[in-house]
Each structure stands twice: as C-alpha cells, then as structure tokens.
Symmetry: none
Subunit: 234 residues, 2 copies
DNA sequence: CATTTTTGTTAATGTAAGGTTAAATGATAA
DNA sequence: TTATCATTTAACCTTACATTAACAAAAATG
C-alpha cells in the first residue's frame, strides 16, 4: 500500500542549487514544489497543503524569515527548516524565534538533510493524532467559532474575539476540564516563554473571564504554577 | 515565574569542557547532573528523571551511542542531543538512527545550544498531553486527582492541593497500606534530605491529615524513624 | 527516669504567581 | 495622516506556597 507522498515546499532563489535539491528530494520520494522567491513561495503555500517547508534565508524581495512569519500566521503547525549561509548565529537564533523546527548551514550534506526531514515529518505525524483541526466548540451556553473568531452566548449577539483571545480560548477549549499548561499556550501562541509573555497571557485570561461571566457554569480556574483549566459545571 | 527547573543529564568525559558547559547551563537555570563517562552516565540516568540528555559521542569505555541505546531501552521519550567532534557525518547519521533529537559539532556556539535545548524541551512539553494514567487514586471516600491537583470527598467540593501536598499524598497513595519511607519522599519531592526538608515534610503531613479527617477510616500513621503509612481501614 | 531524638502542630515570614486595571506601544484601516 | 483596535508593559494588589521558627508531645535510648 503506497502511502501518500509527503509534500515539501522548497523556497530557494539560487536556480542551480534549487533544482539540484529538488531533484534530490524527488528521488527520495517526496513531492516537491519549488518556488524561486519569497513572494512566489507564499502564493504556492496558500494554494496547497504541505508537510514541510524548506526556506532559504537569503532571498531578494522577501527573505526567509518574513516568509516564515506569513506562513505561521496561516498555519501554526507546518514544520519549517531554514537554510542559512555559513554559521550565521544571528540567523539561527532568529529562526528559532519564528518557530523554526531546524536549520541547516549551507553547504550541507544531503543525507543529513534527508534524516532531518524524516525525523521532523515523523514527529509531526505522531503529534498530529489528537490535533485534528477543530474550530468549533460548545462551551456551556457559548458557541465558539474560532475560524471566524467569534463567541456567541445563547440567543445573544456574537462577540468578536481578537486573534490572541481566540487562540487562547481555543486552546482552553481543546483541553476542556483538563489542564491547559501555561507553557503550552506560551509556546504555541506567543512562541516565547518569558516574564512578559506570561504577564500578557494573564491579561488575556482576564479578558476571557469577563466574556465568560455570562454563563456562571463556565469558569477558568488556575492551577498554581501549572496552567489553567476551563471547566463547565453541569 | 520559577517553574520547576528542567533537569539535564550531561555526559562528557573532558573534565574542563564538561565543567564549563555544566556551569553555563546552570547559569541559565537548568539543573545539571554531570557524569564523566558512559558508565556513570547510565547509573545516574537510572536514579533520576531527566528532561534532556546531552551526550558526548567520543568517550572511553562506553561511547555516546551505546549509552543512548541503553537509555532508549529504559525510556523512549527523553530527548537526546549528541555532541560530536568535527563534522563527522557518520556520527550524525548514526546518532539519528539511535533516536537523537539533535546533534552539535564541537566546538559550538553556546547560545545556539541554549536555543536548541529550549526548543526541544518545549516540543516535548507540547507532546506530553494525555498521560492520564497513574494520576487518579481512590483513597477511602476520597478521590485524588493528582494531575489536576485536587482532592474530592464523596459528594463534596474538590479541595485544591498545593504542589507539595499533592506530590506527597500521591506518593503515599502509591504505597497505600505500605511503608512510604521518609527518605523516598525527601529525595523524590524535596530533592534533598536534611533537617529542614524533613521538618517541612512533617508540616505537610499535618496538612494532609487535616484534609483526610473527613473520612475517619483514612489515616496517616508514622513509623518512627522509618516513614509514614497511609492506611484505609475497611 | 532523665535526656535526646523524632514527630506533631500552629503560626509567621518571605517570595513567587496570578489578578486587575490603565497606560503605552504597535499595527491597521479609513 | 488620524482613528481604531490589538497587544504589551507597567504598576499595584491579592493569593498561594514553601520554609522556618517555636514549642509540644511521643518515642527511643541508656
């Protein structure tokens, strides 16, 4: 039974290198879409579902980081590998901030790249078991539509949620009645776990609590030092 | 926001390099156990729970790969980072085979190492969502949920437990009707066994007894000089 | 039985985490 | 640009926790 080939988006402006790499990946049973710059890369990304993105950092018009940021806005989960010239520490660090899964210094060994690709795709595969896209939730008397970013109470008017409010409430809902670790929200939503992001999160928890007050059966409890718990009392 | 410090097992035979690295990691808020060879590394690994292992590949007696294999037999999940000299492709590939999460070529940039450590530990944190076994206990008429840290008596309201209360009660429950040695709790929970931690533990025993008074069939007995025993009389 | 050691209990203290509100900054659209 | 909204930072406050102290009681020791 031939498994579905994994799809890779390769964004690389050097035509020679790009082509060689694409061929090499295809020889190894990946389906590869090659974009020649950041702009084109983003267009192709929007049109298709990819299992992995490989982005060159240095590109004219739109560099790899900017592209990665745009990609992350659309999709918080696709793995991203950066290709950086030499050992540019700056780049590496910046890459991790944007949510890179790995980076490689050019020139690199193609077998190593292959191992990394395999490892990363497999990792995502195991993660994505319970992560099936869920965007609509019933929370007590509320309906949350986190695709359209609104929260509706019984018959009332839907309230618009800001992106952060929305993502946070969605994460809580995904773990309804269970612990939603602080760290999880911070890394998934804020992509950084420090004093300030943590404070920011608390502010958003307060906002959500305000919204949710309409239904007194619904509350967000804190588990000191661990995280929060969205409970619906019946 | 002092979350529990993450624990790293560092196995590195070069004493200078090892010590420097250890200090650097400790300065960055990790708890580091330094083993000077593979043998010692494995002993220490068995004795404790670590969030991450950093293994030098080249070591006398037992090299990093062999050690990694042994570690994997005990634990399929701990992230492992290899330190390999130069760009030894062989090593890198072999490392991935053994289930490495990453590798670094010596010499490496310490900031990069730090980013990798952060990224890897965070990744693991998000993966470890549904481990709901071994966290729920029935103690007489009580239900202990030690993941959500609450203790519920029959129909009553759940009482929140502090981290220490929770861990201690959980340890007692794991040994229900049996001796739970003082030393065990002190090393597992307080990570140190001295006069003060011992006094602190007694304070927590008192707190637990207070909670458990609701059910007169449940009590915590002291075994002088040995430890405590959680008994449920039927 | 007197003394030392271990355990029991309560209260005080210091620190960290979380809550709340408002102001400052950033980002976006009119 | 202004005006508007989203997000972060700041300030201040409250609560939660762990430790330590102080003293009482029990158990062991010789």
């Amino acid at each position: 039974m031939e498994e579905q080939k994994k799809r890779i988006l390769l964004v690389e402006d050097d035509p020679n290198f790009g082509t060689v790499l694409k061929d090499y990946l295809m020889m190894n049973d990946y389906e590869v879409t090659h974009a020649k710059n950041g702009m084109e890369g983003f267009e192709k990304f929007k049109k298709d579902d990819f299992d992995l993105c490989i982005l060159d950092v240095m590109m004219p018009y739109k560099d790899g980081f900017t592209l990665a940021k745009e990609i992350r806005e659309k999709n918080t989960d696709v793995p991203i590998i950066f290709l950086t010239a030499k050992t540019m520490k700056e780049d590496v660090l910046k890459g991790y901030k944007v949510g890179a899964d790995d980076y490689l210094n050019k020139p690199f060994d193609s077998e190593v790249l292959l191992m990394k690709i395999k490892a990363i795709i497999q990792r995502k595969a195991t993660e994505t078991i319970s992560d099936s896209k869920q965007f609509e939730f019933k929370i007590g008397d509320f309906d949350l539509n986190s695709k359209l970013r609104f929260l509706k109470f019984k018959g009332g008017d839907p309230v618009k949620l800001s992106p952060k409010e929305n993502e946070l409430l969605r994460l809580l809902a995904l773990h309804e009645n269970d612990l939603m670790p602080r760290e999880l929200a911070l890394t998934k939503i804020w992509r950084d776990d420090n004093y300030f992001t943590s404070r920011s999160m608390d502010v958003y928890i307060a906002k959500l609590r305000k919204y949710l007050k309409l239904d007194e059966k619904v509350e967000i409890l804190n588990i000191h030092g661990e995280g929060f718990r969205l409970v619906v009392n019946s």
